[in-house]
Amino acid sequence: MNQHNQHRRSSNDHSYQVDLEVLKRRDFLKRLIKAVLVSGVIAGGAKWLYRGSALSNQEPKRVEAGLPDFSVSEVGRRIAIVTGGDRAKTVTRAIEALGGIDKFIKKGDRVVIKVNAAFATPPSIGATTHPDLLKAVIKLCYQAGAESVVVTDNPINDPPTCFQFTGIAQAAEETGARVVLPRPEYFELVTLPGAKLIRNWPVLVGPLKNATKLIGIAPVKDHHRSGASMIMKNWYGLLGGRRNMFHQDIHTIITELAMMVKPTLVILDGTFSMITNGPTGGSLDDLKQTNTMIVSTDQVAADAVGATLLGRPLSALPFITRAAAAGVGTADYESLNPIRDSVS
């Protein structure tokens, strides 16, 4: 009995010990497998993430295509110079003289108007595109059957305030156009072939992406660094990034901008010309009534006419001769047989 008991106990002990051994082994194996798995993840992850070389500090070579060509080839190089004090009338007459808006804007066109909205100043100061002029052009575009008209710029002052204070936002709203403010996602790196400055530079491409036509509208203004700010200088507002660096080589950047942008039409507003204190102005004393509206398909010719309003010789405006030399247009605007007219 006693022995039996002892036997049972020992057999009990034995089975208990066996169970314990199994459990211990099983537990150990589980931990072993987990440890192996974790080590595998660490090693695999390290292999996946490993790059031998340090990150290069150079900007990535992301060269995007340039801007589309918006010019209307069948019109050729033309220019109209209309004198008069009423912007809506002079611009309408000038466009008529070039064959009418239908020559440039077709039914279904998606038009972008690049205004000069650089500063948060009222229209009377003349530092920005005049809302009356803008309204007249937008109306013409819609008359010609444009599907949409977008007004855009990347101003120097705070963008929303600029569009508000200049009256441009209101003009666009009244005539059914849409203002597109520069947002970071609208800028893309652009490289102009053969360019020295516009290389991998952020350009306000977003609003132009879906567009079929591009019109540039700018006032005639004094500019101390470049000599004048007119149509070609106005494309500066398509640049993003720390574009102020380009002032170091102002004539080259203006030339390259003129090479990069191929507009349908440019409208240079010399109803008032800012003779001094440009390009900001700030006082009516800075303006001179020159009563001239210039509409052209040749931006170089337009600026060359503008230079006469400012009374500046071409030798003081190297960007005009350089853009002409680069084949953008002609500085000798008389060779285009300008159509001259006057409306009161």
Partner: protein
């Protein structure tokens, strides 16, 4: 409908209204922009703003008249602002519920019982009121101290009090004249006497408004507008930067997380506005109270008591935020809101230590001369403190600025930034301009900040006044400071590189930034003519970079002979320099003539009489790190002592 439901609706309504006001604080005339929304309304309802500015400036400004509504409501109904209106209080109440919702009733009752530390908020209030009242203390004591009869009066009171003490010692006084009355009189007279002797206009003359640091309404405004909407760029579609917003956010989030310790932690222990209300409610005609003293002490009324005001026992009127949670939960319906006092007794005034209150009040008063010893409103004024247009002179400004951040949110250019320590500890979160941040300098035709300021720390300007036009022509434009060119960093001045972006963007007419044209010989820029025509010269010397000199900025000049005029280079190769045929030499330069290649530079200068300190130049300067032209506060209109020119 139960009153608690009504209260919740009220809280949600005012909370959403507040968030809406924060959201529409954007310059513009759309319905979702500033337009005519009364965005300052909560600040105007805040009596701590009103009382603080009245104490410092002696004036109840503009919309702060609304505070009267809050004060009268509080006197009659108790702390309804805390429980029904305050958006910060609503956040605390909600989070308090979130953190403690799964607790059992006895635990909640324990959380919501009165704690002596709730007195801390009254000491915070005392210190702030003290600092605000320093100017007043100065006016009274210096008035007495500067007059012979003042000193005679003080001395007489002291002598009488000492005499009375002696008389008291010999027990010859009537019993109503207690010893502590005499001691109070003596202490007060001595304090006034000491102050009369030591105060001075320079350090004691102006109070400091520090309430805004902890006042819940300015706190919640700046936290939401600058921090919450700042990080919520996807929602607002605005790219804003706010210097030190992390600190504002840390305060805000810490205040919210404190609800994990106890519900409405901030309201109970810290809030100086709640403390102010707590002092005002002692006479409320209608209040919460028990209808009979004895009850089962089940604790249900205490379970959700937001103010920790012990409705089950001796009721603390000053702590009750009128949440009304206790009204309907009493199983025996013993708690009522009405004209009767609580049957189990009341504390009508907050339980604060009078000595502690006087010491903190005194510390607040003393903090002002202590801070002013740094001299920030005197000779040690900081040129980095450029205040927004319309700002009053620094001492007057600090009397009114509540650090609410409204000007910082409305500024379309995002250049108005909360100060850290630039304007001293006392100037934390006050607005200063930072022209590196944002979308432009201070825009000429914008007066948004000065018109949104709720306290008149920024005087409301018209565009006409800001620009110094029309009837303000004789006074000239509002100047924020003056720009200075750093000649060691400026590209044309120091680095032979054309630039003058600053001149271009200067919005003043005539421009405050003007240029002087110079021609600078290039490094190794002198060479000799090898061969020449009227428009082209071949030169010796180091190879030139082809095309580089044709940018329109380079000129060539003969150093020998009569014709030493500059001629613009139109193109070049490695050793040939070309000039325009329109500008050619009459006679080709002779061989071995010395030639200088020169760079035409326009060097910017600032006219201090014209510069308005708008910072357009600093913002646009292409030297993008430490700008080569920077605005400092010299010549600012608000402080004649900082003038540069006559």
């Amino acid at each position: 409908m139960k009153i608690v439901i009504v209260r919740r609706i009220s809280q949600v309504f005012f909370f959403l209204l507040f968030i809406w006001f924060c959201f529409v604080l954007v310059l513009g005339d759309r319905w979702y922009q500033l337009r005519g929304w009364p965005v300052n309304w909560f600040l105007e309802l805040d009596p701590l703003v009103a009382i603080g500015t009245v104490l410092t400036s002696g004036q109840l400004y503009g919309g702060l008249l609304w505070a009267v509504v809050t004060l009268v409501l509080t006197v009659f109904l108790g702390r309804v602002f805390c429980g029904w209106v305050c958006p910060f209080g609503t956040m605390h109440q909600f989070l308090g519920w979130v953190f403690h919702r799964n607790k059992r009733a006895p635990e909640k009752a324990e959380l919501n019982k009165y704690r002596p530390a709730q007195a801390i908020k009254y000491y915070i209030l005392a210190a702030m009121i003290g600092a605000a009242g320093t100017g007043l203390v100065y006016q009274i004591t210096s008035y007495l101290g500067s007059r012979k009869w003042g000193w005679i009066t003080i001395a007489t009171v002291i002598v009488i009090c000492v005499g009375l003490l002696v008389a008291y010692r010999f027990r010859v006084l009537p019993s109503f004249l207690k010893r502590r009355y005499i001691m109070w009189g003596l202490g007060f007279a001595v304090a006034v006497g000491v102050l009369s002797a030591i105060v001075g206009r320079r350090l004691w003359g102006d109070g400091l408004l520090l309430t805004g640091i902890l006042d819940p309404i300015p706190l919640v405004y700046r936290s939401v507008t600058l921090f919450v909407l700042g990080i919520g760029e996807g929602l607002t579609q605005m790219e804003r930067y706010y210097v030190g917003a992390w600190l504002i956010g840390t305060f805000f989030i810490a205040a919210l997380l404190l609800n994990a310790i106890a519900p409405r932690f901030y309201c109970r222990f810290i809030c100086p506005l709640g403390a102010l209300f707590g002092l005002l409610v002692r006479w409320t005609p209608w209040r919460i109270g028990k209808t009979q003293a004895r009850c089962s002490q089940c604790g249900l009324c205490q379970k959700d008591c937001e103010g920790a005001s012990d409705p089950h026992g001796r009721f603390r009127v000053s702590e009750c935020v009128m949440c009304m949670n206790c009204l309907h939960v009493c199983p025996r319906d013993l708690i009522k809101y009405g004209p009767d006092r609580s049957a189990s007794g009341e504390f009508n005034t907050p339980k604060i230590d009078r000595r502690g209150f006087i010491i903190t009040l005194g510390a607040g008063v003393l903090s002002v001369p202590a801070l002013r010893l740094t001299g920030l409103t005197g000779p040690n004024w900081s040129p980095r403190v450029i205040r927004p247009p319309g700002a009053l002179a620094e001492a007057e400004f600090l009397k009114r600025c509540i650090k609410c951040g409204q000007c910082m949110k409305i500024c379309p250019s995002n250049i108005i930034q909360p100060a850290l320590l630039e304007a001293g500890v006392e100037g934390i979160w006050t607005p200063i301009l930072n022209f590196r941040i944002g979308t432009s300098g201070c825009q000429l035709n914008c007066v948004a900040c000065s018109n949104v300021c709720p306290t008149g720390a920024l005087r409301p300007l018209t565009v006409e006044e800001k620009l110094g036009r029309g009837k303000f022509a004789s006074r000239g434009p509002v100047k924020l400071g003056t720009a200075s060119v750093d000649h060691g960093r400026c590209l044309p001045w120091a680095k032979d590189t054309p630039c003058i972006v600053c001149q271009e963007v200067c919005p003043v007419t005539p421009k405050a930034i003007y240029v002087r044209e110079v021609y600078r010989e290039l490094r190794d820029g002198v060479c000799h003519v090898v061969q020449a025509t009227n428009t082209e010269i071949v030169v010796d010397g180091p190879q030139l970079t082809p095309g580089k000199l044709g940018s329109g900025d380079y000129a060539v000049r003969l150093l020998d002979g009569p014709d030493q005029r500059h001629r613009m280079i139109i193109n070049n190769t490695a050793n040939v320099i070309m000039i325009s045929p329109l500008d050619g030499w009459d006679v080709p330069p002779r061989k071995n003539t010395r030639v200088a290649i020169e760079l035409r530079l326009q060097l910017p200068y600032v006219d201090p009489n014209l510069c308005i300190g708008c910072g357009m130049c600093e913002h646009e300067c292409p030297v993008s790190g430490l700008r080569a032209i920077r605005v400092t506060a010299e010549n600012e209109s608000r402080e004649k002592r900082h003038a540069l020119t006559f």
